[in-house]
């Protein structure tokens, strides 16, 4: 009898350990999956290096909005229950009844690529791709203050190196304003507006104001960082 009880206890203990492992692995896995998905977003900067040729320009015009529209349609089907949410790996629980953050991420990248000059778009996209996951990681491991400080420095680096050919005053101004906007965009949480959208759009809008003011304050626009490549054939 005692042996049976011991075996049952052992079995239950093993089940608890297995379940805990499963839960931990799901959380841990989804967590790193989301981080890699963020970093992957930097690949979209390839848009700027594509050759300036008619048929490629047509692709550049149509493909990015098409990707966003497809993502939006899939999300609508998921929210309406036609597609099971469990197919969407890495989705947070609160995202099950609203549009997933990856759509906000994609919409913000599309808006930046289409409507903003690359001097603004590139650092804003880099902030969402690298500063956001780094801040999240530091927040998880240390504290919020450290996350904000590291995020600010990292974002400032992205803005400064994108504007390194500009006047030093303008470069520092853009670095501080852009980093401040990105950190505010990441820290401020709304239910219907994801931080992946805000971290890109808040600094972009702030920098757009500076961009329009540049000729009036006596500076010249910095040159592009990425120039379209030549056709290899």
């Amino acid at each position: 009898m005692v042996k049976n009880v011991k075996e049952t206890f052992k079995g239950t203990k093993q089940k608890i350990i297995d379940t805990r492992d499963k839960i931990n692995s799901i959380d841990f896995d989804a967590h790193w999956y989301r981080r890699v998905f963020h970093a992957f977003g930097a690949s979209f900067l390839f848009y700027y290096i594509l050759p300036d040729v008619d048929w490629i320009n047509i692709l550049k015009f149509w493909v990015p909005p098409l990707i966003v529209i497809i993502a939006l349609l899939i999300e609508l089907l998921r929210i309406k229950g036609h597609i099971n949410s469990s197919h969407f790996f890495g989705l947070r629980l609160y995202e099950q009844k609203r549009i997933g953050s990856y759509v906000f991420f994609a919409v913000a990248i599309l808006v930046l690529l289409r409507f903003f000059p690359q001097q603004i778009a590139i650092p804003c996209i880099l902030c969402a791709c690298f500063a956001d996951p780094v801040m999240g990681e530091i927040r998880n491991r240390f504290c919020k203050t450290n996350a904000v400080l590291v995020g600010f420095v990292l974002c400032m680096f992205f803005f400064v190196f994108t504007w390194y050919k500009a006047d030093p005053f303008l470069m520092i101004l853009v670095g501080i304003v852009g980093a401040y906007g990105a950190v505010i965009g990441e820290a401020k949480k709304f239910y219907w507006l994801d931080d992946d959208f805000m971290i890109q759009m808040v600094p972009a809008i702030l920098l757009a104001i500076i961009w329009f003011a540049i000729p009036y304050i006596g500076f010249s626009y910095p040159p592009d960082i990425i120039y379209p490549d030549l056709m290899p054939w």
């Binding site: 692995s25 890699v36 970093a39 629980l93 690298f130 190196f161 050919k165």
Partner: protein, 93 residues
Amino acid sequence: MNEEKMNYVKDPNSNERIFRTELLLAPLLILLPLVVGIIFINDWYTRDFIEGTYDLNGQLILGIVIIVGNILFDIPFIRSLRNFKALFKKSKK
């Protein structure tokens, strides 16, 4: 533990779906940014460094940022993927 999370863990198909989605997307998520970073650096080398113009230094930094940033997140991701693979095999047995 959250009830929704509990139900998710109880669902025997969940692990399989997760594993399939991850395996399907992992090569794209890992390789594409590295390729883009290499293209940026290669473009800087052929159009800028060899010509000696040094106009595309920003592109070089961008390429390095993309590669280093992605590798930093890829390593723990691959490690977690391997852990999950082992766990998945164990749970299938």
